[in-house]
């Protein structure tokens, strides 16, 4: 029972991250029906933005309480800037092109951002020498296409795990879940209450009519990209805090998982993205622990995640909370 509770907690923590990133997919998709495959890269760039603030901007010895908000701010600024540039120069010119064109553009943007970050990795130096043996710098053994090493991320939230009846909860995880839920609630309120939020809903329902009602739809689309990017930036820092490293390839996997979460919950639906994120996290963790042998453990985990997705889509073709798709073609 303790084990189950522990794994449930693990799943919720992983799911919170998926949910945060999934929101970016779902908002953009809801408004312009574009799968922004480069969103995972926005998440990655955000993490590096935060790291940059920590290593280059803040003086050494800044207390974590001050550093953390600054790092978060740096991450948000970076990912929002990248998203703005991406929207303006890569996606907007393709607004009326068929679906596949922006998809290829997204792949191009992904490759570009990954490589850009990789090229600015610090080079090898004598400090990377290992012990007294033959020196080697931050490269894996390269047995089978290893990647360049990840960069160290500061652990700004430390301290012993909190124990609740035998279940161990790291302090970082509590922070991650609380912040994620707060952000999700805030976003949901923003979309439902504020003027801009209502304009977003209108644009999502019918872009042309929204335009006729005097809504600047171009601006609304930018708002969707910005909000999604800000959340992804926060998620990037959270991943860094939990894992202790960030790498230029981290966006790919996270992007696919978050996209899956968004579809699971019903793409285009904000509550659905959050729900999908938590569900996906829990499914993954439970599959690792409880799936029947020999299809158990980490090796088959992603298969279980995708099987759940496919089965769900077969019975609910628009995801958990998605409305029936109205053909707008």
């Amino acid at each position: 029972m303790t084990q189950f509770a522990q794994q449930l907690v693990n799943g919720v923590v992983i799911g919170a991250l998926y949910g945060l990133i999934a929101l970016g997919y779902t908002m953009v998709y809801g408004i312009i029906q574009l799968i922004n495959f480069a969103h995972g890269e926005v998440f990655m760039v955000g993490a590096f933005g935060g790291l940059f603030v920590w290593t280059r901007v803040i003086p050494d010895g800044t207390p974590a309480g001050i550093a953390l908000p600054l790092v978060l701010l740096g991450a948000i600024l970076t990912s929002v800037t990248v998203a703005l540039i991406m929207e303006r120069f890569a996606y907007r010119p393709l607004r009326n092109a068929p679906r596949l064109a922006p998809l290829i553009t997204a792949i191009g943007v992904s490759l570009f951002l990954q490589e850009l970050v990789r090229l600015y990795y610090p080079r090898c130096s004598a400090a990377d020498t290992v012990g007294e043996s033959i020196p080697r710098c931050g490269v894996t053994q390269g047995r089978e296409y290893g990647a360049l090493t990840d960069q160290q991320f500061p652990s700004l939230i430390s301290g012993p795990n909190i124990k609740v009846g035998g279940v161990q909860i790291p302090r970082v995880s509590i922070f991650v879940v609380v912040v994620a839920i707060l952000l999700m609630v805030a976003l949901s309120a923003f979309v439902r209450r504020s003027r801009t939020g209502k304009a977003m809903q209108a644009t999502a329902q019918d872009r042309d009519t929204a335009k006729l009602m005097g809504i600047n739809t171009d601006r609304i689309i930018v708002v969707a990209f910005v909000l999604g990017a800000a959340l992804a930036g926060v998620a990037g820092v959270m991943q860094g805090l939990q894992v202790g490293t960030v790498g230029f390839k981290m966006g790919f996997l996270a992007g696919i998982k978050a996209f899956t979460a968004a579809v699971l919950g019903g793409i285009g639906n904000i509550a659905g993205a959050v729900l999908g994120g938590f569900l996906l996290g829990i499914v993954e963790v439970m599959a690792t622990q409880y799936a029947p042998h020999p299809f158990s453990g980490g090796a088959w985990r992603d298969v279980w995640a995708f099987v759940v997705l496919i089965v769900l889509l077969v019975f609910r073709p628009s995801g958990l909370l998605g409305e029936r798709v109205v053909s707008r073609s």
Partner: protein
Amino acid sequence: MIRRFLRRTRARLHALAVPVAPYRVPVAVLGALLVVVGSWSPWATFSGFAGKMTLAYPGGARLYTLVLAAAVALAFVPLRGRRVAGEIAGLGCLGLALLTTLAIAKEGGGLVNVAWGAWVTIVGAVLLLLSLLSLPEEEGDEPARLPDGPAFGQLVGVLAILVTALVVVVEGLEIPSAGQFLAYLAFLGLLAAAAAKLGVFEWLQRAAERHRMITLTAALLAAAAFPFTQDGSNEWVRVGCSVGVFAAAAVGLNIVVGLAGLLDLGYIAFFGVGAYVGASLSGSPDSNVRLNLVFLVVIAVGAIFAAVLGVLIGAPTLRLRGDYLAIVTLGFGEIFRIAANNLDGFAGPKLTNGPNGIPRVPNLNLFGFDFGESHELFGITLGYFANYFFAELVLLAFVILAFVRLNNSRIGRAWVAIREDETAASAMGINTVNMKLLAFAIGAFLAGAAGTLNAHVTTQVSPDSYRFDESVLLLAAVVLGGMGTIGGAILGSTLLLVLPEKLRFFQEKRILVFGIALILMMRFRPEGIVPNRRRQREFHDDLSGADATSAPPGAPVVST
């Protein structure tokens, strides 16, 4: 924004050239003379630059400028679009000359090292360009529409372009330095752009469509001639093998994506299924299936197995629309890769050897013909990869045939209808789910066949070869080349596989450049290099007016 800037710059240049107008012809003749003299003279004061730079006869970049200067004559052909064609050639001539000069200066360590030939050429190119720019603006800078002409003439045209393509490829591959290769690419691109402005390609496309079977046969023969130009070396034939298999898979994917409009992000899995079947039944000592069948049977088994899987995956999920299908296929692709990685006796039944894959797939042996041996034909030695290259051409021919026959059938039209508007298609009585399933199964079938053959070319299969990236690369080949066209898929595959080999120049920044290229390509030519004519009109509204004569009116413009 960029277009407006270009237009303004062009207007300014025209204004600049107005004083030249009265002396247009003498200036042009003088310019041409200078380019000819310049390109036959030394450009650099040192030897060894870009191969043939100081020799007396034009080679390399000097040849390119010379040919481009000659192409300026296009501006005087009485055809619509001639002025733009001439301008492209003239600008290209000047640009290449300038770039080469800069390269010489950089290589030599200063402009001192640039010999007089280069300067003469540059002056000549400037004069040519000035005389061109002084031509009066005329109506209709759009591409011309050439008359079809007699069937015989069309055939000659098609054959000529195929032979040219073969020569261009062979020549290009022999260029040793990346810099010169880039110059070569630019040269080809400029020539092609100038020709396109005169409507040459549109004419060729029409000609090729009218004589489809002859064109296809001739194209395959031209490709088959390639190994004979390689003098027994395997290097580029090996690349050709990768291209062949990749192109076959890309044409198959084009049926799914280009014709039926189903976004498949896990297509490589079907290719992988074929490869695993091929490796398992090949008699490799590492195979877990103790069966060694004749290859023709194996390839059928591989293809059918992939098709069955396609149906199994497709049946429950093809009811989903567009983007949902994308994630499901992505998921399936991942499931295949993970399963192949796991079925090794530790985390599942022992079938695929897990991450080790199945190595040591033996060479093919068909009717006593050993594919692992070099052969001599017409006195020319062919490396053993040439055998596989020919086998792939046969496979490619089969795939293309399937594509063409399907495209022009009831089924093909049904697919296009579904792609354009599923609801309307279903209202017209098309069983959309069955039709989509058929597209999925046929795509999987062809990919499986290609994969089976590929297992023998690469002599091993392992799960890492079937990652999501590979699906993306295939998709990029289809979209870059042009959706819904055979030539596009093949050209896209060739570019995606050959360019990286040739562009070692960029080394570390190769992938970065590739990413930028994808973005720019989609920005300026979303319909691909060889566009489906109907799709091209969807993307460029401005073309529809010019093409109105050739297109049936009211072709639907779709915006999803």
